[in-house]
């Protein structure tokens, strides 16, 4: 059989012997009639992409798909994406993708393999430009997941096609690896939920691992906003909305700025500056948009036009103050989608013309808008301008009979906000004008994204309502760690192995930043104390019996003593010594039921304040490099004293906010056992100084103890034993009422009552630094 016969009419020989894979592929395809017909049609176009060596690799990959029983649909999908994207990606890359698809098929089956291929175009931006370099690496991630969790491939692909697009492959791979680890012992459904971004853990990991994502840059971006506008912004990343595409624009909701968790699809140079540009635009609104516009009976297209002119107006005003913003925003206009069908392209083009006022535009409508805007430059502060111009150009647009679909309209360029924050939509059901509906629709869509984040809605009430329901955040009865004896003061004996200590890992709750808003002033103050302490300034030790230098004062005193024939003090030297910190500290938080009470005059519960304070101090300790841990405890009888490690000694940095947020109070305070366990942990430390700092709101109490003195005496015993083992124990007591028990347990000098709870963070920090320096 000659080559030509074997290959069929579609296949032209590419050379002698260099086309074995191509031939083999045709042999495999030919027996499958329907497939063959379609395939023969595609082949010449694929072949033209070349080069021959890559075509060989591609053919081998296609053959591998067939051998993996990927099915006709998969093979045709492979051929069709190759035709579409082959020139941009190159056949070699597509061959690699095909091989990954075959591997996916072997582990997870046909459907995932086919889906993996059909999702490819959405991984590449418009026309496939720019982001293809690492597309293959993303496929490797899918393959990894397919190997371990076949059912998770489809949800994963959904995520990749939406929010995952803007992530680096490394970030994606880190997220997937974390998911496989976290669900290793769980059910398939758990894994699917993770890979579908349906669990809080999954979202958090994704937000934190996305290199270009908001989470990694939050602090710098907030600082930039504050520097430019003098306003401390509240910026929240929108939630990843599993599967469905996120609204890829920023939004302004009252005081809260919502940003996408990762930048929208843009060329990399722009994606890198996306947040900066977007927040600068929001800042311009914050400064120059005096009040919301009334939507009234306005049509959606008018709303879009007014918003567009307002955007241009506030930006122009901002650039008068800060001319450099033009360099930030300009490139986004160059990349904006101005050729889009319908009226969108035209509107975007007007936006560009209003930004580059010095550029003539060939379109008469756009040009008219530009002229109208220029005529008003001398009174740009006037907030009526947008409506004037929108009226004038809006009519013309109407006459052009270009459709405007408010549901698919997307503000261009990408850094601008979705405009919803600029408008007040009247809430009158008897005027069901189209504008209202559309506007309300989109508002609703937007709101849906974070149904369980009370902060993003700026509505503190909801946070409180839900409290009662969620007290079971500590696992009901965690694994037993150890048993401790308890001191029976009446009998004067220890009851051996009396208390069972269990480990409680607080489940991550949905709310992410309930305590994040600790008082900024206090935080700043603590930060500056820490910075000073961290320098580790050396101290001059005077009047030493040896040292590098004479202590002048001491020497002179000695000299005059000598003259007066008195015995001089021989300690006339001074030396410098580094202030050395070698300590291990444990912060132990009382999370018993009583900490659920609200602090008088505030909406915060005691536990919230405890946690906020401890977080601040813990962050400060981390900055100083002090080895420390944060534990919380509560009890329900002697069989169940639960300890949760919010931060273990070994964890390097300040613990994640979520772990604290998940701390729900409940049950009782069996202090002694918690103290014994803390002591055991600290006594094992090799640090010179070991510090145990207890934060509690009341006296020990447990459901199975009647004698009020019993637990107090036991705790007192525990403190004494801790001291014997070289652990310094101190207590910060909240409120004044129960201080007697506190003094009894810890000793009056080691008990620090804090009457005003709002003082707690500063007090706790101060106390810590005093103690740590002692």
């Amino acid at each position: 059989m000659t080559l030509r016969e074997a290959a069929g009419p579609g296949l032209r020989p590419a050379g002698t012997g260099g086309d074995a894979s191509a031939r083999r592929l045709h042999e495999l395809v030919r027996p499958r009639e329907a497939l063959y017909a379609a395939f023969r049609d595609s082949w010449p176009r694929i072949e033209r992409i070349g080069p021959p060596a890559a075509l060989e690799a591609w053919s081998a990959a296609a053959a591998e798909l067939i051998n993996a029983h990927a099915g006709a649909g998969t093979l045709l999908a492979f051929a069709s994406i190759t035709e579409r994207l082959g020139r941009d990606l190159g056949l070699d890359a597509l061959a690699a993708i095909g091989r990954e698809a075959a591997e996916i098929c072997r582990h997870a089956g046909r459907r995932p393999a086919e889906a993996a291929l059909t999702v490819l175009p959405s991984l590449c931006a418009r026309g496939g430009h720019a982001f293809v370099a690492d597309v293959v690496d993303r496929y490797r991630v899918v393959t990894e997941v397919a190997r371990a969790r076949r059912g998770s491939v489809l949800p994963l692909l959904g995520v990749m096609a939406t929010v995952g697009r803007a992530m680096t492959p490394t970030a994606l791979s880190a997220w997937a690896a974390a998911g496989l680890r976290a669900t290793a012992t769980g059910s398939a459904a758990e894994a699917e939920a993770y890979f579908g971004l349906k669990t809080p853990l999954s979202r958090r990991v994704l937000a934190e691992s996305g290199g270009d994502g908001f989470a990694a840059r939050e602090r710098a971006l907030s600082a930039i906003f504050l520097a430019l506008w003098g306003i401390r912004p509240v910026i929240r990343a929108r939630d990843f909305d599993g599967g469905s595409a996120p609204v890829p624009r920023t939004g302004i909701a009252g005081q809260v700025i919502q940003v996408p968790p990762v930048p929208p699809i843009l060329p990399p140079a722009l994606a890198a500056r996306y947040y900066e540009a977007a927040l600068a635009h929001v800042g311009a609104h914050a400064r120059f948009t005096p009040r919301k516009f009334q939507a009234g009976e306005l049509k959606p297209v008018s709303i879009a036009l007014v918003s567009l002119v307002e955007d241009a107006r506030v930006e122009a005003l901002a650039m008068r103050e800060m001319p450099g913003l033009r360099r930030l925003w300009g490139p986004f206009h160059e990349a904006a989608e101005v050729e889009a069908p319908s009226s969108f392209g035209l509107i975007a083009r007007l936006g560009r013309a209003l930004f580059h006022l010095d550029r003539h535009d060939d379109d008469p409508w756009v040009e008219k808008g530009r002229r109208l805007f220029i005529e008003r430059l001398d009174r740009l502060e006037d907030p009526a301008i947008p409506r004037e111009i929108a009226n004038l150009v809006g009519n013309d647009l109407g006459q052009m009979r270009l459709p405007f679909n408010a549901k698919t309209y997307l503000v261009e360029p990408a850094y601008r906000d979705d405009n919803l924050g600029l408008w007040e939509f009247a809430d009158e059901p008897d005027h069901p004008a189209e504008a209202h509906e559309v506007a309300h629709d989109s508002v609703r869509i937007e709101r849906k994204e974070d149904p369980d984040d009370p902060d993003a809605r700026g509505d503190p009430d909801d946070a409180e309502e839900s409290e009662g329901a969620q007290s079971a955040t500590f696992a009901p009865a965690g694994p037993v760690i150890v048993r401790y004896p308890e001191w029976d003061h009446a009998a004067g004996v220890f009851r051996p192995d009396w208390v069972t200590l269990r480990e409680a890992v607080p489940a991550p709750a949905g709310t992410s930043s309930r305590y994040a808003a600790a008082d900024a002033a206090v935080a700043a103050r603590i930060e500056s104390i820490v910075r000073r302490a961290a320098i580790g300034r050396s101290v001059r030790l005077r009047r030493q019996s040896e040292g590098e230098q004479l202590d002048l004062d001491a020497a002179i005193d000695a000299a005059s003593d000598l003259r007066r024939r008195e015995t001089p003090d021989p300690r006339v030297f001074q030396r410098r010594a580094q202030r050395h910190r070698d300590l291990a500290a444990l912060l132990l938080i009382d999370a018993s039921e009583s900490t659920r009470r609200l602090v008088a005059g505030t909406r915060s519960r005691i536990i919230d304040l405890e946690v906020a304070a401890v977080r601040l101090v813990s962050g400060a300790m981390a900055m100083l490099g002090d080895s420390h841990a944060v534990w919380a405890f509560r009890s329900a009888g002697r069989d169940e004293v639960s300890i949760a490690a919010l931060k273990a000694f070994a964890e390097p940095a300040e613990p994640a906010a979520e772990r604290f947020a998940a701390l729900e109070p409940g049950l009782s305070t069996r202090l002694g056992a918690a103290l014994r366990h803390s002591t055991a942990a600290l006594a094992g430390s090799r640090s010179l100084r070991r510090l145990l700092l207890v934060v509690t709101d009341g006296q020990p109490y447990d459901i199975d103890v009647d004698d009020p003195a019993y637990l107090v005496e036991d705790a007192r015993k525990a403190v004494q034993m801790a001291r014997d083992r070289g652990v310094d124990v101190f207590c910060v007591g909240l409120g004044t009422e129960e201080s007697e028990a506190g003094k009894r347990i810890f000793g009056a000098r080691n008990y620090f009552p804090v009457a005003r709870l709002s003082d707690l963070p500063a007090k706790l920090a101060m106390l810590y630094f005093r103690l740590a320096l002692r």
Binding site: I224, L228, M322, R327, R532, I556, F769
Partner: protein, 266 residues
């Protein structure tokens, strides 16, 4: 002992920003101790120099630091061939000869050092010299001025209430944009447009004080930067060398400052 070394020859340039000269002159008239409060580099030292010149008093300036002892202020015995001789410290010098004594950044000194000024700041106006076993009554023209940076205070370092309450206070802050630009033009010898840009940048950096930065760029830093520009350094580079790099090593804060510079420059 002549105080000539402490006299100010020619008028120091000071651009008045409010009623601070009037208040100071009145306080001096009553020989009331004065505390100048304000962030670093906003003109406190320059103001005292200016007032000393205006009032025709010598000015003794002491930069306080944490290793400073009472002896560093008051004086000490020194050894010489004939034995020990007493040597007046700067404060004693000013007290004896009727100078204005300016204790710069007083909170840096330790509490036990600070207390030596107490008897000087009430009706007694005396300075006990413990080591000599004598007491010096202040010269009628003597006045004590201290400076104090409130943004800098910490739990560790703060003025005691008993010290604070002995002083009249004048609040200083960075001047308004136009005045600050005027000062930069004058001190750095640079054109107004560049000075105005630098002042804009300075104001933005101050937005970050207490939120990542201890303090924003001072007038002094703006003048430094302007001098670098006057010396031929391109402005963006000068901003880095003159007001980003010295302020912070925190990458996030540097990013914010760079953004402010980029936004404010043409």
């Amino acid at each position: 002992m002549t105080m000539d070394a402490y006299r100010i020859g020619s008028e120091p340039y000071y651009r008045s920003v409010g009623d601070e000269e009037t208040v100071f002159a009145a306080a001096y008239g009553a020989r009331m101790p004065v505390m100048l409060k304000g962030p670093t580099g906003c003109g406190k030292t320059r103001f005292v120099e200016h007032m000393a010149w205006k009032l025709g008093r010598p000015l003794v300036t002491v930069a306080c630091h944490e290793d400073m002892t009472a002896a560093d202020l008051v004086g000490r015995f020194l050894l010489d061939p004939s034995g020990t001789v007493w040597h007046d410290g700067p404060l004693t010098l000013a007290v004896r000869h009727g100078a204005i004594c300016y204790l710069d950044e007083i909170v840096e000194a330790r509490q036990d050092t600070i207390v030596v000024i107490h008897p000087l700041t009430d009706q007694r106006r005396i300075l006990p010299l413990e080591k000599l076993g004598t007491v010096v009554a202040a010269h009628p023209d003597f006045q004590l001025v201290i400076s104090y940076n409130p943004g800098y205070q910490s739990v560790v370092k703060d003025l005691k209430e008993s010290t604070r309450q002995r002083f009249a206070a004048i609040d200083f802050n960075y001047p308004d944009a136009l005045i600050e630009a005027e000062i930069v033009v004058r001190e750095a010898g640079i054109g107004a447009p560049i000075a105005e840009r630098l002042v804009e940048i300075g104001r933005r950096s101050r937005n970050l004080s207490g939120h990542g930065l201890d303090e924003g760029a001072s007038t002094r830093m703006l003048i430094h930067t302007a001098r670098l520009v006057a010396g031929g350094v391109p402005i963006e580079r000068a901003c880095h060398a003159g007001l980003i790099a010295p302020i912070t090593d925190d990458p996030d804060m540097r990013q914010a400052l760079r953004a402010a510079v980029a936004a404010c420059l043409q």
